[in-house]
């Protein structure tokens, strides 16, 4: 062991250039398609190197707050503990909203239901439901006497965090006895083959599987039923299951590394940013948001707008204000 590590150390010393060479992006798997799209286009356009890792939102922040990465994708705002860790290490960051994502609640196409209320969803998924709620008529007496099969995103995902926060009111406060999976395609598979099933996942998965599963309209606070669509997410009417996606940028790296600043400028250039974000299946923010983002980068405006947690009912206009 000891001789092994010594020889490898000797081998490793000559070339630590890689770390400065390529722009380092990491973070949420939900934001990954966006990061990948920009990294690919930027590299094609300029020849500068960008690499993207997937450590999840939380894992990404750990690396980001150690100064290992310059950009960190996040499917929720930075938490207070994470911001504290950054501060401890002297890392200042810029919080840049990049897109809106909607979560959809899906049922089997054979299910005649078209709309559900947030309260009914809460009854189905909250902690107290464990082992008790197993029939559709327990959610609403008008629903048929049919067994209820629950699917959903795995507990390590930002999708799960946001769903529990928005529907149940507390992050992570869900029942444990539902089919939780990190791969949303499994949820599609399960719901498409079981007429009694219900599940929740990212809207992009629904768009790709129209006909196999049926997205439900959602009624929030006794309001009208709203269909999950990119338009309704854009206007901010599909609530509470619309959430912003972020890119956090290391301020010191922006100042000291020319390729980091160059990539950041490319990322928020409204000329192509909107098309690129849309091509990944997410909803791009309006042009004004990107113009504001460019100014924010130029002014190096640091800190988080979100006081350490998710907020329900965030609209693109709010994000514009945040910039």
């Amino acid at each position: 062991m000891r001789t092994l590590s010594l020889t490898t150390l000797a081998l490793a010393l000559p070339g630590m250039a890689f770390a400065q060479d390529a722009v380092q992006v990491d973070g949420s798997s939900t934001v990954f398609p966006v990061s990948e799209a920009f990294a690919e286009e930027y590299q094609t356009a300029t020849g500068n190197r960008v690499v993207v890792g997937v450590s999840g939102t939380g894992g990404g922040f750990k690396k980001f707050c150690r100064g290992e990465t310059s950009f960190s994708g996040a499917s929720r705002p930075i938490k207070t503990e994470e911001a504290d860790l950054c501060a401890e290490n002297g890392i200042e960051f810029l919080e840049m909203p990049v897109a809106m994502d909607a979560l959809a609640v899906i049922v089997n196409p054979e299910n005649p239901l078209t709309c559900m209320s947030v309260e009914e969803l809460k009854t189905a998924y909250e902690t107290e439901a464990q082992g008790k709620i197993d029939n559709w008529n327990q959610l609403n007496t008008e629903y048929p006497d049919q067994p209820l099969t629950l699917f959903g995103a795995g507990t390590d995902s930002g999708t799960y965090d946001y769903f529990t926060f928005a529907v149940i009111g507390e992050e992570g406060a869900s029942r444990g006895d539902f089919t939780a999976t990190e791969d949303d395609n499994i949820t599609i598979q399960g719901v498409s083959t079981d007429p009694d099933a219900i599940g929740f996942l990212g809207l992009a998965y629904v768009e790709e599987n129209r006909g196999r599963v049926k997205p439900l309209e959602i009624s929030y606070n006794g309001g009208d039923c709203v269909e999950p669509s990119t338009e309704n997410a854009a206007s901010g009417t599909y609530q509470p299951l619309t959430r912003p996606l972020f890119m956090y940028v290391n301020k010191a790296h922006l100042d000291e590394m020319p390729n980091v600043e160059d990539f950041a400028k490319f990322f928020f250039d409204p000329a192509h940013a909107i098309d690129l974000v849309s091509s990944t299946g997410y909803l791009a923010l309006p042009e004004a948001a990107f113009t504001a983002a460019e100014k924010k980068i130029a002014a190096r405006k640091t800190g988080s707008f979100f006081d350490g947690g998710s907020k329900v009912g965030v609209t693109p206009d709010d994000l514009l204000a945040a910039n």
Partner: protein
Amino acid sequence: MSTTTQGALSAATTNQTAFDAVRKAKQKDILFATGGLVVMALAMTLLLALIGDLVIRGATRIDYGFLTSYPSRLPERAGILSAWVGSLLVMLVTAFLAIPIGIGAGLYLEEYARKGWLSNFIEINVSNLAGVPSIIYGLLALGLFVYGFSLGKTILVAGMTLALLILPIVIVSIREAVRAIPRIIKEGAYGLGADQWQVMWSYIIPAARPGILTGAIVGLSRAIGETAPIITIGALTFIAFLPPAPVTGEFPFISFAWLNDGFTVLPIQMFNWVSRPQAEFHVAAAATGVVLIALTFSLNGIAIWIRYRLRQGYRN
């Protein structure tokens, strides 16, 4: 007279009992063989069905462009160049570290180490390490190599991590190989006046070579499919350039700079594509799976061929 008849009768009964016993034993034999055949057929069918399904879904996607393109957000443009090059380079480092160290450790433990509580302790630990979940090696490597030695998230660290992971497997199989060598060979050599090093170099190592290669095959085949420890040490998911070439145009013609580059590997690329919403990415994932299986088979093929050649040489 009567006694003879009785004797013949009793002999006949004894014969009959013996025949019955043999028939019963044969029936059991057939039953067991059939059971074994059914289980084997079931396992093989399952394996072939899985591979077949992967090939049917992915094989048409594999073409020159797929193998020579970088990943892309557009499924039709996406390829696995950085992933298969990464996998191959990591395997190279793993083999280069795990096989010599494994051979050294295995031979020492089997031939040189004095039997006592210490060698027993080491033996138990080596056997137990072979069963430790791979993620634990990932965490160890993250703490020790990536942060402890500040080696970064490089091909070298990935190779070292996987080498640690397969080392117990390699050591155990090398010890088995050495143990399987007939004592008579060793003792004959000692009897002719050879010293320990001569016996080791001229008899034990050549005789154990096929077994050593088997250990290396089993270890590397496991390492190439590992995802968890590689993700833990910080492998990338999107990387659209290759590490610097190991051979350069100027003196000294060999460069080790590639060891310090970031990388991705085939299982990570596959995992990423499987979890995407677009069906075209799922096809690309299946194609990646086919390439991974092909790579594993060809690694095994090379090792089996070398083993075959060595066996021939040893017999002569």
